[in-house]
Each structure stands twice: as C-alpha cells, then as structure tokens.
Amino acid sequence: MGAQLRLLRRRIKSVKSTAKITRAQELIASSRIVKAQQRMQAAVPYEREITRAVTGVVSNTSSVDHPLTVAKENPARAGVLIITSDSGFCGGFNANLLREAEALRGLLESRGIQVTPFVSGRKGVGWHAFRHREMGGQWVGFSRRPSYSDAKEIADALIESFKAEGGIDEIHIVSTEFVSMLTQNVVVNRILPLEVVETTEAPKDGPLPYFEFEPSAAAVLDSLLPRYVESRIFSALLQSAASEEASRRRAMKSATDNANELIRVFTQQMNQVRQAEITQEISEIVGGANALADAAAGKE
C-alpha cells in the first residue's frame, strides 16, 4: 500500500471520530433547547404580573421618588452586566456578546462615564481576567440552568452597589435574546434607574385602577422594585441559556456538515490514488509479460 493511501485513510478515520463527537453535541444541545424554552415559558406569568404591579404602583403614586427610579443628572459610573456562557463550543455566542459590551463601554466612556463590568459565565470572566479588567462582580456555574436564587444573588449585588454612596449610577444588561431556534440577538437594556414608562395610549382593559396599598405605597415600592429587577435579570439569564444552546446546536451542526464534506473529498482522493496504483501495477505486469514474450521470441 502506498504511503499516500495510508495517510488519507488515517485522516478519514480521525475526521470521522470528530464528526461523531460534534453530532452527539448537536443532539444534546437540541434536547436542551426544548427544556430551556420550557423554563422560559414557565417564568412568563410571574414576569407579566410583576410588570403589571409595578406599572400599577408607579401610575398611582403621582411623584415617584424612589432611589431605584431617580436618574442622576450627571451619571459618573455605570455597571454593565454581561451574561456569557460557561462552556464553549457555541459558535459566535460569546464573541458577539463581548463585542457588543465593548461597543457599549466605548459609548459610555465617550460620555465621560466610567464603566464597571459585572460578569456572569466562565467565558466572560476569563475574557476580562485575561485583559486585567477589574470586575465589579463575577458569577459562574449556572449559565446552562439558571435558578431564581442565582438571579437574586446578581440583583442583590447590583442593587447594593447602586445604592452605595459613590457606587454606580446606572446599570445596563448585555444579554442574548432568544427569538427563535434560528435567531438570537444581542440586546442591551438599561435596568436601573428604572424607566417609568408613561404610555400615552390607554391600556386595552381600560384605565389602571386606583390601588390601595398595604401597608403604604412607599413600602410596597420598596419591596416591589428589587423583585422587578430580579425578575428582569432572571428572564435575561433564561433567555441567554436558551440562546446558548441554540447557538451551540447551530455551531455543532455546521461542524458535522463540514466533517462529512471532508470525508467525502478524502474518500474521493483515496479512490483515485488506489485506482492509479492498480493501473500502474497492471501496466507494469503487462509490460513485464510483453518484455518476457519478446525475449522468448528473440531466442527462438
């Protein structure tokens, strides 16, 4: 067997085993997307209700004057929460996020705002540590399956540093929004200070009722707003988890496709080489036989 033939056989074998791995990863990711989507769906009722409650409280108290809703006139520091993944093999997922985060950082710095990153997910933490960027907080280990207590932990840290004297004045989230299996977008949202949305059009189910508060509007607002922030962060974490799996599935699918294409090309090359060898052998045998026949004819 020729050396070239052996080389090709070895490469085909190695590409085949890679394809097996990426194919398995693709299947795992597909099944996880479904679960991640279910968790996203399960969190929707709470988010909807809490948004309604916040709107209710805010529209009732004519002058909302709560530390979490009041924007400072000259913000000097901003916190940016970047939600990345813990593991790789998910295509451009983290690269896109971090690029967007850098763009936001540039934008804020051009306005004279100092940026402190808060990072969730091993990949983002590694990225910042490598560049010796100081982080306001870091959380790892739950990017695939975030629980509400994880969101609470992040929210507590953010709110604390928001309330602290000389702390951050605004908080942005850079995360990935899950639109569909095929589309995920990087989105940037400002979560604090809360933007009190004053809609001019009347809500569908008539004007908002005039609420009474137990014990008082201020106390309700006090405990409602942190919950609202937690719920926003939780929903961002869930969407990111689903997006991560979707993006992993896509990356692994194209890796498997590429591997199969390579195997096809190599197999073709291998067949060509083998055929060339056989043809050469035949012509050598025929040539040799002819030479022998000629020699025998010459003797007679």
Binding site: G56, E212, F213, E214, P215, L224
Partner: protein, 133 residues
C-alpha cells in the same frame, strides 16, 4: 355572584390558577380577606405566610407563600410569591425535620437570621399541609 380569577405564581413556575370565592392572605399589616368586587389593592406578603383560597364545592386550596405580593384589581387576584408551595405538595417529614434543625440553630444562637427565616418558612409549609405547629 361574581367570581375571583386567582393566579398564584412564583418566578420559576405558575403554581395554581382558577376561580375562587374568597382569598385569604397574610400581609405585613395582618390578614386580608378578599371577596369579589374588592377594591384594587397591592399588599406586601409576610415571609412564611399561609394562603387560603375558598372555592364553592371544593376543599380549600392552601399554599405556603414566602414573601412577595398580592395584587387585586377588577376581580383578578394575583399572588406573586418569591417561593410558594401547595399544601398537598409539601413533604411533611422533610419540613418537620428542617423546622427542628432551624429551631435547634436558633436556640444555640439567638440572632441567627437565616435559621429564623428557615423556621418560619417550614412552619408555614407544615401549616399549609394541615399539620399542627
């Protein structure tokens, strides 16, 4: 008579939703009973409270609700709990165990806030399950 549309939700899932005649919850101000055509209200719920939903013809629905809010508007009652559990879902043995451990922790150090919270929560879980605490 008008009915209440009740939804009990926690951040991770919807616990229960359906029609009811009366909802009793415990806010930081005290117990609040809500019947149809109640005025709109938003209340802060206590840590380790028991929610009771009275329904026609059915047994009361009882749930342990930890923190969160109750909001009432136009005969719609939403209970937004940080964590909640239906009485029928409570693992009684586990809750008793946890309660005892928490009480032991409180006895050893009076100002153990975590243990006190834990004790309150488990007491509520047991009450929701129909046990005497």
């Amino acid at each position: 008579m008008a009915k209440l549309q009740v939804g009990v939700v926690s951040p991770e899932r919807e616990i229960w939703s359906g029609e009811a005649d009366m909802v009793i919850a415990k806010t930081v101000e005290g117990e609040i009973g809500i019947m149809p055509n109640h005025a709109p209200v938003i209340g802060v719920l206590v840590e380790g409270g028991v929610l009771r939903v009275k329904r026609d013809g059915n047994a009361d629905l009882v749930a342990a609700v930890h923190g969160g809010f109750i909001s009432v508007a136009a005969n719609e009652v939403s209970v937004l709990a940080e964590a909640a559990e239906l009485g029928s879902e409570v693992d009684v043995a586990a809750a008793k165990d946890a309660l005892q451990r928490a009480q032991a922790a409180i006895e050893s150090s009076q100002d153990d806030a975590d243990a006190q919270l834990e004790a309150k929560r488990n007491a509520a879980r047991l009450r929701a399950a129909g046990e005497e605490v």
